[in-house]
Symmetry: C2
Subunit: 396 residues, 2 copies
């Protein structure tokens, strides 16, 4: 039988990263290609304790069907946390729990984007989100990313000229893959532009708690008095990605449509995970845990940047130092063949992600690749970056 | 701001059942409207033990990112179980774990159905699935359900006359809401018709293990030598719905597209739940557990049918006795106003689901309502059905 495939998924390909992730499961390969939190960042003991309590004290609640909107105590706790810490959330907003922040991208696109409508995003941007938009046949319009955020002229031009723009997608802190944090000035400017052109903003902030230097920048959602920002939050980097827990804070009419879509997708998010997150935030030292995480990543990032300075920079590869997150974006000198470099690296058993995987058009020219420093051990990181340096010395 | 909504969700409404589910949370209301497994059917002790072991023995595996296709040992175990027990699965098939069987409906529709394409379903059918199809703007074509399955003439006529039919959706055992099990003869006939017209079948079997009398009927997927059947399985009724665990067994090209869509929806399913299910199937007496479940539901169903015979049948409400599942479909006499009956019932603090909620067109005439006997206690069941009987006596 010839299987008929819907138009929306006809050209959809598996995420290059998740494919590389499989390849990187080969234990002889040093993987700098994943986006996994450091395993030592998981509060294993606390999760085991809480899980035990839940399954002893309220097992039926954990195992029975629950509400599509999420476990009410967790919704309240996250809402209070985001309001108190970041002034995110107004009376016109609602908050629901999702199966990872990935589901926010999916549900919002499903709710608001017709096939052929446009989504504006940073170029480069997170491939998982881009694929989510693509899977509803959205047209992607990439805006060049500068060290302080999107190029505003290109953004306004897109808002003016593109048809049926539905939202602007921004990873505001320590962007994946570039590491860029959008400045406060640009956040305000982007907000004003969105308002001017009647377009929503999807602010995705999975790495916000992982700042290792500098000062926090207010989320775009924190100055949303007009109800035009959808905020996607995640537990993947602060608790556990295997739990698949995220949340969305957005105006009520938008959330209501997302809830109906979620009913049809997975009914509700795993209840055990929601209950664990709730107790972890309320019965444990959550602030202390976040501080500990930052310590872990501060060390890892510093070590990684030392290695880059030692092995790559002398061999013509540059990078922008980061203030947080899990990724460093490395740039080859002009004229170098980045794809060939990444392939040669794999042959030498080091895996990085070619930068064009993060573009709205993968065929476009790109001279960067992404390194992740949270997953590998220090030994693996040194071994991998050393090999990259040798390779660069030989072929660049 | 006026929020623009995509065409596909414009007319999509929250599931009437999930809305009633909220209403039924009122402790003074006797809810016969849910579809929850009986809490005493959860293997709480085993799940607590296993969870403890996992978080002690392999916590990082449980908490880290995992494969979109699912936890490999669970995929293998479920595949072997379905092959050995039901001869489901061929070399051309693949199996992935989903976030509840609900996600199978979603992913298949997303992968194969363009907006405006047709999905054929039983009338009545499970509203959650219908809403999943609707959420991609599929046209629904309902085929009248008889006590042994779909009306075959109506099915062939639809296959002949409807445009771009993508698949036939069937809940083969103890259908929700009707309780109907499609006979072996009709299963074969439906398979042949699908083959003849080049259309896939989506066989949904969440209740298959809950047979309380009679003999198992072979799944349609068990005679799929042509690669035209997509089989959706669920852990919700045999382990726990709060875990959100389901699976799909389907031809590899179809599964491959579903995997890409799943990446964009939730990356992967909660790992803890997958590991718990795997250990429960392999380290505990899974067959004994299923046998125990059937005992629980056999008693509950028998008690419910006794009550119906005692209170409803003498008052002009009829029903078709069931051989399994969680639901009984009750029919009012001709000319009676079913919606008014359900509203009056709610005023007397008994909640049932009006039958038209399960039709492809909710505006259509329907004289039935659905009762669930697995969620209420025996006392609640008797109280609720007694009230329905009194109401029937008064107004029918």
């Amino acid at each position: 039988m010839e299987y008929i495939v819907s138009d929306r998924v006809k050209t959809l390909k598996p995420s290059a990263i998740r494919e590389i992730f499989k390849y990187a499961a080969d234990p002889t390969v040093v993987s700098l290609s994943a986006g996994n939190p450091a395993p030592e960042a998981f509060p294993i003991q606390a999760i085991a304790e809480i899980s035990n309590k839940i399954l002893n004290e309220e097992p039926v609640a954990a195992l029975q069907y629950s509400f599509t909107e999420g476990y009410p105590p967790l919704r309240r706790t996250v809402g209070e946390f985001m309001k108190n810490e970041y002034n995110v959330g107004r009376d016109f907003d609602d908050l629901i729990i999702t199966s990872g922040a990935q589901q926010v991208m999916d549900l919002l696109t499903k709710s608001m984007v017709n096939e052929g409508d446009t989504v504006i995003c940073e170029a480069p941007s997170f491939i998982g989100s881009l694929n989510s938009f693509r899977s509803y046949n959205a047209r992607l319009c990439g805006i060049p990313l500068e060290p302080d955020g999107m190029n505003l002229e290109a953004l306004e031009s897109a808002l003016k000229n593109e048809k049926n723009v539905r939202f602007i997608y921004i990873i505001s802190n320590f962007q994946n893959p570039s590491g860029v944090t959008t400045s406060l000035e640009k956040r305000k400017a982007i907000y004003e532009l969105a308002k001017k052109y009647g377009v929503m903003i999807l602010e995705d902030n999975p790495y916000g708690e992982l700042r290792i230097s500098g000062e926090n920048v207010a989320p775009i959602k924190s100055f949303d008095e007009d109800g035009i920002v959808v905020y996607a939050g995640s537990f993947s980097k602060i608790l556990s990605p295997g739990m698949r827990l995220g949340y969305v804070i957005a105006p009520k009419p938008v959330v209501a449509k997302m809830v109906v879509c979620k009913q049809g997708e997975d009914v509700h998010t795993n209840t055990w995970a929601q209950m664990v997150a709730h107790r972890f935030m309320t019965e444990y030292d959550f602030a202390g845990h976040l501080k500990g995480l930052r310590e872990i990543y501060r060390k890892k990032a510093a070590f990684c940047m030392e290695l880059l300075d030692k092995y790559l920079v002398p061999n013509k590869i540059t990078y922008q130092p980061i203030e947080g997150g899990l990724f460093i974006w490395c740039r080859l000198p002009g004229g170098a063949d980045m794809l060939d470099f990444c392939k040669q690296a794999v042959l030498r058993k080091v895996c990085v992600v070619p930068g064009n995987a993060f573009l709205t058009d993968e065929g476009e020219q790109c001279s960067s690749f992404r390194i992740n420093f949270s997953t590998p051990t220090d030994e693996q990181l040194e071994k991998g970056i050393k090999i990259l340096g040798e390779l660069a010395k030989e072929i660049l």
